[in-house]
């Protein structure tokens, strides 16, 4: 087959975030599950090594007995990624990160999200940039949720984030990758890992993200809101691997017309 009809393979390279190497390229959220047990089973089925958690007021005097999320997903076994979900200002997000660091014995890896609007949960990129400057200055290692604007993504990288995490579609919408061109441009420009964060709805969406060259995918609702979350977690693990392998293998070029898979020689019997 002539070369222009063949795909081009790519060299593999490990996923390194803040100096630590990860085998799994699927990061998972821990919200919206029916129980801590379902959270644990889904996280294991997903093969996640990094799990994101929210920081909230402790329930005083309630459910004493009740197990704690960090008992179910121990920091000894998982990289705990505290997020600033629910913060609408740089100040709130920075304060949340500081509390998270105290809570996690000085761990500096955080997922920064400063939201602009409760309806779309799109990031407020102005405030996100402000918070990023402060957090980087305070020694945090910032994985940052952003929109799919390549300019903003580059700016955040220049400010020193350890990973850029553009949305595929609104958080929890399950609409998949709305603008693959933007994600592709972000990936091509980036020197830090790019992970799609938010918007994935099903396995093929995760595969598409990886086929665009993303270094990983972070998701929560697509797994937790599936009919069978544990099974979907497994599906997502497989899909992320499939997409990564396909990207490395180098897909065939698209052709408008057909190309026979069987030879024409020896046909006229």
């Amino acid at each position: 087959m002539s070369d222009n009809m063949k795909g081009v393979p790519r060299a593999d390279k490990p996923l390194v975030i803040a100096g630590k190497t990860y085998r799994s390229r699927l990061l998972t959220g821990t919200g919206k599950y029916a129980s801590h047990e379902e959270t644990r089973l889904a996280t294991e089925a997903a093969g996640a090594e990094i799990v994101t958690v929210a920081i909230r007021r402790s329930n005083i005097g309630q459910d004493k007995g009740q197990p704690n999320l960090l008992d179910v997903l121990p920091p000894s076994k998982y990289t705990i990624l505290p997020n600033t979900a629910g913060c609408y200002t740089a100040d709130d997000a920075v304060r949340t990160c500081r509390l998270a660091r105290e809570l996690l014995d000085g761990a500096t890896l955080v997922k920064l999200e400063v939201l602009g609007d409760p309806k779309t949960l799109f990031p407020d990129v102005e405030q996100t940039l402000v918070a990023t400057r402060t957090l980087v200055a305070e020694g945090f290692e910032v994985m940052v949720y952003t929109n799919d604007d390549p300019i903003i993504a580059k700016r955040l990288e220049e400010l020193g984030v350890v990973a850029v995490m553009p949305l595929a579609a609104p958080i929890g919408s399950g609409l998949g990758i709305r603008n693959s061109y933007n994600i592709l441009t972000i990936v091509e420009n980036a020197k830090v890992p790019v992970l799609v964060d938010a918007g994935v709805g099903t396995a093929s969406d995760a595969a598409v993200a990886m086929e665009l060259g993303c270094d990983g995918v972070l998701m929560n609702t697509a797994i937790a809101a599936a009919g069978d979350p544990v099974r979907m977690a497994r599906a997502m693990r497989l899909a992320v691997e499939a997409g990564r392998e396909a990207w490395l293998a180098g897909r065939m070029p698209r052709r408008r017309y057909a190309s026979a898979s069987s030879p024409n020689e020896g046909l006229s019997f």
Binding site: T28, G29, K32, R56, N68, E102, N220
Partner: protein, 66 residues
Amino acid sequence: MRLTVNGDPMELPAPTTLAELAARLELGGQRVAFEVNGTIVPRSQRDAHALRDGDKVEVVSAIGGG
């Protein structure tokens, strides 16, 4: 002495340290972070940190979220 803990009023005998409040809140083995009047008090200083009447205390934990 009167404190506000996570927004709710709470009566405690003075003097009370943050460590004593923590014990009283029965947080179990749960990992928490404390903020008193907007300033984080590191785990290492809970014993030494004496609470004052009117202090606003925030106690936060990690919970499920995405």
